[in-house]
Every structure is written in structure tokens, then in C-alpha cells.
């Protein structure tokens, strides 16, 4: 579902944020992307969604090349950005309707999906209010609902749990599992190692634009004599 082949991205010809990295995410997989601050996680996410252009390499999402066939690639993605402060002067319902139209979600399906997600996230009451009046967590929830409304085969989520209350975080994790079970791909970044431990089929650890590890958690723990993921992560990233 996601193919990242020998991709490099340099900012201002000086900072190599992503340095010749490659990885795949197959259908049915939940892959966690972990790394310290400034390791290149958000840059990778932005490259995947077409927000920024790679200097070298090839990125494919749902068999569509992100550079050559951007519209089809973008239609295949549900993306949650790292900041939920977006279109604050629109009402929640207006924002969802805007996203529904842009991703061409038919009226009936749109109503069903908004209904189901608002119920799961407790958003129903807030829909007629401007996003500006929402708390940080509520803003994150409306972004999640909007990103997943068109039921895309690939989910790319940048720190999706930040700001969510326990119930909403639980619901989102459930949705991620359900989505992967249906044969789709979920690729998300996180700083919370417990979330990665409980949710991921595979983790990718990145530091200074280089992939340090790509594989299952079990294998990582076996390789490191059953140490805790936290300790392994610290040892890997502080080398």
C-alpha cells in the first residue's frame, strides 16, 4: 500500500531531514513510526502526502506515484496533520461538509459516516459551533473524523493521539485495528511507546533521517534480550 524507495529530502541545501530511506507498508498492517524530536518523522509524513517534494526517490501510495499521479494518490490517503488548529472560523459541520465535498463522499454515505464517528468521539453536540470554540482535544477529534470520512485505504496519522481523552483514544485505536483488519494500511507516528507496543504489527525507528530499525516488536525484543521497548528505544536513539 505504501512504498518509500530511496527517498532523500534536504532543507535549504543544508539539513538532510530524510536520508536515502526505504520502507513498505502492506495492506492489513499497522505500522508505528517512532523517533526523537527532529528525527524526520513529520518530513516523511509530508513527503508521503505530497505536501513537500522529495529530492531523490520514489513514493507510491495505493499503487499511485505521489509525484506523477498526485490526485489519485491523495484520494487514497486519510491524513491527520500534527496541528489540529485549522479553519477555526468554520463550524464543525461546515468543515466536515467541506472535506466531504473535496473527497467526493456521496450525501448518504457522508451522513452515515459523520453520524457514526460523531457518536464514537462524542462530537454530536459540538457540530453546530465554530471550531474556534473547541478545546484542543475536540479539535483533534474533528480532524480525525474529517480525515477518515471518505474511508481511504491508507491512513497516515501524525501523532493522532495527542489531546484525545481516554475514550476517544480508545475509539481511534479500535478504528485503526478495524481498518487494518479490512485489508487497509495504517501508518502513524507516535511518541507514546505503549501505544506502539499495543497496536503495531511493525515499528520503524528513525533518527536524524536514517532508519535504525524496521521490523516486528517481538523480533526487536528478542534481539535485545527481552528488554523493555522504552530501554531499547533509548539505547538505539542515544547511540
Amino acid at each position: 500500500m505504501i512504498k518509500f524507495e530511496n527517498v532523500t529530502k534536504t532543507y535549504n541545501k543544508k539539513v538532510r531531514a530524510v536520508d536515502d530511506i526505504s520502507f513498505n507498508v502492506k495492506g492489513g498492517e499497522i505500522v508505528g513510526f517512532i523517533g526523537p524530536n527532529g528525527s524526520g518523522k513529520t518530513t516523511t509524513m509530508k513527503l508521503l502526502t505530497g505536501i513537500i517534494k522529495a529530492d531523490v526517490g520514489k513514493i507510491t501510495v495505493n499503487k499511485f506515484n505521489v509525484r506523477r499521479d498526485p490526485i489519485n494518490a491523495k484520494e487514497s490517503i486519510g491524513y491527520i496533520a500534527d496541528s489540529p488548529d485549522m479553519f477555526l472560523r468554520l463550524k464543525g459541520s461546515e468543515f466536515l461538509d467541506l472535506i466531504g465535498d473535496i473527497y467526493r463522499v456521496p450525501t448518504k454515505k457522508r451522513r452515515e459516516r459523520i453520524g457514526s464517528m460523531c457518536e464514537r468521539f462524542g462530537l454530536t453536540e459540538a457540530l453546530s459551533s465554530p471550531i474556534m470554540s473547541y478545546s484542543h482535544g475536540m479539535r483533534q477529534k474533528i480532524m480525525v473524523a474529517a480525515a477518515l470520512m471518505h474511508n481511504p485505504p491508507v491512513w497516515i496519522l501524525d501523532e493522532p493521539m495527542i489531546g484525545l481523552d481516554p475514550k476517544s483514544a480508545y475509539e481511534l485505536k479500535q478504528m485503526m485495528c478495524e481498518h487494518a483488519k479490512a485489508g487497509n494500511a495504517v501508518f502513524f507516528s507516535t511518541h507514546v511507546l505503549e501505544v506502539a507496543e499495543k497496536l503495531c504489527d511493525r515499528v520503524i525507528i528513525i533518527k536524524k533521517g536514517h532508519i535504525l530499525y524496521d521490523g516486528t516488536l517481538e523480533k526487536l525484543e528478542t534481539q535485545n534480550k527481552n528488554e523493555s521497548l522504552e530501554k531499547i528505544f533509548l539505547e538505539l536513539t542515544e547511540k
Binding site: 532543507y11 535549504n12 509530508k46 502526502t49 505530497g50 505536501i51 513537500i52 517534494k53 498526485p70 490526485i71 489519485n72 491523495k74 484520494e75 490517503i77 491524513y79 496533520a81 496541528s83 488548529d85 485549522m86 479553519f87 472560523r89 468554520l90 459541520s93 461546515e94 466536515l96 461538509d97 467541506l98 466531504g100 465535498d101 473535496i102 473527497y103 467526493r104 463522499v105 456521496p106 450525501t107 457522508r110 451522513r111 459523520i114 453520524g115 460523531c118 454530536t124 453536540e125 457540530l127 453546530s128 459551533s129 465554530p130 474556534m132 470554540s133
Partner: protein, 554 residues
Amino acid sequence: MSIFLKLTMALLKTVEPTTEEKKYKKIFYNIMGFIAVFGIMLPMAFFVGVIIYALTSQLLSMGSGTNAVKIFLHLVSVFSFIFGINVIFSVFYFSGDIENLLPLPLKPYQIIGSKFTAALISESIMEFIVIIAAFAGYIIASGAPFYSWIIALFGMITLPIVPLIYCGILCMLIMLVTRFIKNKDTVNKITGLLTFIAIIGIAVMVSNSGGFDTEHLVSALADPQNAILSTMDFIFPQIHFLVDSTVNNTFINMLFYLGVNIFAIALFMLIAHLVYFRTVVEISGASGQTSRKSFSAIVGKMKQRRPAMTYLQKEFRLLFRTPAYFTNCILINLIWPVFLYIVYLLQGKTNFLDSFIYDIHNGNEETVLFFLLGISAVSVLITAANCISSSALTREGKHFAFMKYIPMSYMAQINVKAAVSIIVSGVGMLIYVIAAAVYLNLGIKITLFCCLLSLCSVAFVSYFGIFMDSVNPKLVWDDELNALRGNYNIFFNMALAILLEGATCAGAYLLFRFTDLGALIIIIMLFLFIMLLTAFSYLLCSYKATKNIDELTF
């Protein structure tokens, strides 16, 4: 460095324009800067200097040499006040930094003083050039000695203090009265309307003061009992002392000038100390309006529409709901009839508008050509001045990434953004054009042609503005007014559009004067040329702006 200075520098950073690292973009910006400085700012300053020089020369012989420069500085102060209202409201009440500053261990005077100084510096840079030009005109005409220049330079920096303090005091009193309104946006829109009312008030004042032909102006200025000047001296007393100390180099008047400014600052700080923090805390807690509707009623309204239509609606909602955009992009379109009314009043005894209308009725070719050139020029000016297109990408700010990750081509999004500018500027222009056509009894065919010419000119600037903004959009700002303030793209777009339109109009007129081509042929050529410019700016967006958006890294 003291905390006050450090804080002022930090606040100034938020209104700084973005810098560009790519070499070709740097060159582009340098060229634009050169055009703006030498094509617009310096000629404007020169024009002001010449007018003050001419008026002072005449008034000197009548014994009232200082009156021209005085009335001009009063005028500058009035404009500082009008345009300062929104800025001061934004800086003191609606900027995002206040919630970060309040918990810091800063003394109230440090926050208030730094905010005021930052607003004064960022708002007064353009004014400085005009003020020094006015002083130059006066000093050269009156033959004042060398040290007058030093006093003039000092005046240039300090003159906007009093008008901005008036704005600050007004702003705090309004916030004190309206602090129970829990929606910040409502208060912010009220200030926009206040600015509008102030401009209309000035127009009414001008209309009540009689004709303003040159002869009348000089004799009015020479009158020692001039009512307007006396009133203005009362409102801005520091100007009298500044001008007097420049002329006579009297130290005592310079002390009085400093005294008025220090008193104004002290009064402002006192009122701010008593009122500001009390009201700003309440305002910080205020949020946007909330409403409760049943879920079925909300989703029942949802219906699939074309992406472009819903994107267009989003753009309009943000323009109308964001006070800074509502005032600077929408409300500004309503100001033009007021300016036209002032022009009508300024004709005084010369009645050039009446003779213009008479010539149009009689089909005078030159007048008809002037009328059409005027329509095209005003259309360009209105579209550039409302900055809807030249801030189209800048307004996206931190969520600019949205444009890049949604499955909608960049050109489709540019077309929608251009459509917003064309609709707002075009509808405004069409109302004026149709009203003028009805008043002048032009007939349907000519009216339709005028409308087409106007729309074409609007479309040209709309696409051109988006291209200009795509070169280096200012995406980092902490409140919406800062997206528009200190934004070079808006200024450069206006400068280039005016220069291009000016060259087009001048070319058309020269063709009429110096060739045998009739007015009709030249009008058709003008229309075709504006269409060509529109096509050119569309292609610029299609090939270059889309590439600029694609390459933007943030």
C-alpha cells in the same frame, strides 16, 4: 538590553515580512523593491514635497507661510488615526501573543509600552517618507536654516505618537464598554465599522467646508481665523509647536512639543494601567459564539456539491467571518464611492466633472476614451487595494499544507481563489459602472462594453495578485491582521498593477493624440490588450504559481 527593548524587538518580528533564500526569488524581490521605491514611493513623496513647496511659496507672500505644512501634517495625523484604529485594536486585544505575555513576570508598563512602540514603528514607516517630504517642501520654500532639518527629522519619527495614542485610548474605552460581549469577532467588526464611519465623517466635513479649488484653498489657508486649522490645532496641539520650532527654531516650542508628547504617553500609560489588563483578561476568556442544533438538522443540510463550489463557499466564509479580512478585503470596497464623492466636492468652482459629463453626452471622443481608461484603471486599483488575490495564499497561514494534501489540483484551487477576488471586486465595480452609465445615459451597448472592460481588468489583477503571492507567501503570522500588515506581496502587486495599467492608459492616450487612429479603434485595442494581460496572468498562474506552490517548503 532592557526587557522593554527586547520585548519590542520580539513583537516587531511577528510583523516582519518573510525573507527568501532562493537566489532568483531574491532578485525578483529586489527588482520589485526597486520598482516600488522608485516608481511609487519616491514620486509620491516628491509630489507631496512639490505641493507643499508651491503652497508655502504662495502663502509666504500672504504672511501665513506655515499653514500649508500644518494642514498637511494634520491630515497625516488624521489618516494615522483612522488606519491606526484597527492596528491598535489588533495589537492590544486580538493578537495571539497576549495569552503568552500575561503569565510572564513582566510589569504592565513593559507590555503596554512594548506593544505600543512596536505598533508605532511598524505603522509609521510609510508615513515617515511623506512627512519628511512635506517638511522638505516647506523648508526649501521658506529658506529655513540647516538645523530645521534636524527638527524635521525628529518630527518625522515622533509625529504619529499622538494620533496612535488617541487610537489606544479610544480602543481601551470601547473595550471597557463592550467587555460583556463575549464574542471577540463582534467587537472587532465594530471597530471596522467605526473606521468606515470615520472616513464618511471626514467626507461630510469636507462637503460642509465648501469648494476646494486652488484659489479657494490658498485664500482659506491664508486666513488666520481658518476654522478647520483652529479645530485641528486643538485636536493635535503638538503640530503647531513642531512647525513653529522648525520655522523659528525656538527652543521653547520644541519643549512644548516634547511636553505634549510626554503628557500624551503618560495619560495613555495611566489609562492602560487602569483599564487594559482588566478588560484584556475578560476578552481572553471570551470565545466564539456557540449554538446548539439537533444532529439530524445539521446532517440533513449536508449535500454533495462540486469541490470547487464548496471551496468557494469556504473562502467566502473565512473572508466574511475573519474581522481583519472583513475590514481590509470586503469593507474597503465600499469606501470608493466616498472617495468619488470627495473628488466631486474638490472640483469646487471649476466644475470639471460637469463639463466632463457634458462632453460624454455630446460624444466627445477624447472624453469617452478618458472615461473608459478611468473604468479600467479604477477596476485595477480596487482589485489590487482589497488584496483578496495578493493575500490568497498568505491567508492560509499555518494550514497552507491543506492546499497541498487535498485531492484538488493547484490550478483548480487558484481558479477558485481568483473567482473570489473577481466576484467581490467585480460586483463592486459593476455597481459603480452601471450607476455611472445610468447617470450618464450611456445606452445598453456601451454600458455592456464598460462592464466587460471592467471585469477583464479585475480578472487580470486577480490572477496576477495570486501569482505575486505565490512567489513568497507570508505563512507565519500570529493573528490575521499580521498576515496583511508588512506583507510585501500586497504592496508589490499594487505597485506593478498600477504601473502596468498606467503604461497601458498612457499608451492608449498617446496613440489617440499622435496617430490618426480613431477613438473606437483605440478602445478596441485597449480591450484586446487588457484581455491579453488577463491571459498572460492566467498563464503565469498556470505554469509558474502552481510550480511555486509545489516547491514551497515550510
